[in-house]
């Protein structure tokens, strides 16, 4: 067992079941290493926040976990099975959903058309629309509006709605708060907490940490491609500045 494994088990105990686990994951872009042995655990039914400064490797960690980037070493374990080399579309179809940084919506399509794109997963359009409007009532009045003209918060809601339409078991959120007003971020994290209460396991990546800590069960700080600290949100809040500034 590696040191970080020890850190995780100290922080979260021995979870009955983990839905996502990274073991000693290393990754590189064009031969330049970005991740140096990342260990990460998302226990079933919990919200884990992965925090860290810009360039720490958070987004790469999500890309590796979701199959978009092949790790150069280490294991990606989903629901107890090693899935290195799995195609991201296969993982997504089975309920492993990534809401990417920058929202990943089609700005030239209307809200309805964006939602219609999610029917590839086999769900009917009516089902996708019902799930969306129930979770995000604000989008009800915007159905015919072009997605690119929505406010930042509404675009993020649409991105999340597209993810939730597939009824994910595991949801990965990358920089939910990017470019949004604090009040909107707070509103979005209330929705995240609600999704978690419905039993979806969530891994949230954030650079600006305070808001996400309120919704998380566990948190980890990542610095220079390594997990530097793991603990409860309360424990880590006090250490955030030190970890970010490397003091």
């Amino acid at each position: 067992m590696t040191t970080t494994d020890g850190v995780w088990s100290d922080a979260i105990g021995e979870p009955a079941e983990t839905l996502l686990e990274l073991r000693g994951v290393r990754a590189a872009y064009d031969g330049i290493d970005v991740l140096y042995g990342v260990d990460l655990v998302v226990p079933r039914g919990s919200v884990v926040a992965l925090l860290g400064p810009n360039g720490a490797g958070k987004t790469t960690t999500l890309r590796v976990a979701s199959g978009l980037h092949t790790p150069s070493a280490g294991d990606v374990i989903v629901a107890g099975r090693r899935v290195n080399g799995a195609r991201p579309e296969d993982l997504a179809r089975h309920g492993f959903c990534l809401v990417p940084e920058g929202r990943g919506i089609f700005p030239n399509l209307s809200v309805r058309e964006n939602l219609r794109m999610m029917t590839y997963s086999g769900r009917t359009f009516r089902h996708v629309e019902d799930v969306t409007m129930e979770r995000f009532p604000r989008l009800r009045d915007r159905r015919s509006q072009v997605a690119g003209t929505l406010s930042g918060g509404e675009q993020q809601m649409l991105a999340m709605a597209r993810g939730l339409a597939t009824e994910p078991a595991l949801l990965l959120l990358d920089e939910l708060s990017m470019g949004l007003a604090p009040i909107i971020v707070e509103e979005l994290y209330e929705i995240v907490a609600q999704i978690a209460r419905d039993g979806v396991s969530i891994l949230v990546v954030e650079q600006f940490a305070r808001t996400v800590l309120g919704a998380a069960d566990y948190a980890a700080i990542m610095v220079h491609g390594r997990i530097a600290k793991v603990g409860s949100p309360d424990e880590l809040e006090a250490e955030l500045s030190t970890a970010y500034l490397g003091a």
Partner: protein
């Protein structure tokens, strides 16, 4: 925390049944493909060099054609080497697996007797 038990169980079952490619296998296939492509290119270059040299009496053009023909031979040799290396690897792997299986079956038969 309330959990949607069924959804997670379904997710677990689907992930367990998922067919996974081994990244190493896809790399081997890529090299095998490159080998075949190089052999085809080598043959193409040989044909092209023959046509070029045949259509001209100029020694300069014919020298170019000879160079092209030699490049074609190099391509074909490298391609053949790659093809042999990676097709033999997969054949030997299969052969080894078969040998192990047959030995195990033979041992089982002996034990049954």
């Amino acid at each position: 925390m309330i959990e949607s038990q069924d959804r997670v169980e379904q997710f677990r079952a689907e992930i367990a049944e998922m067919k996974l490619r081994d990244p190493a296998t896809s790399r081997e296939r890529l090299w095998l493909g490159i080998g075949v492509a190089l052999m085809v290119i080598g043959a193409g270059l040989g044909l092209a060099s023959y046509l070029i040299s045949h259509q001209s009496t100029s020694p300069l053009v014919q020298n170019d054609a000879v160079t092209l023909g030699l490049a074609g031979i190099v391509c074909a040799v490298i391609g053949a080497a790659l093809f042999l290396r990676y097709s033999l690897a997969s054949f030997l792997r299969f052969w080894l697996a078969r040998l192990i299986y047959e030995q195990k079956a033979q041992t089982d038969r002996l034990l049954e007797k």
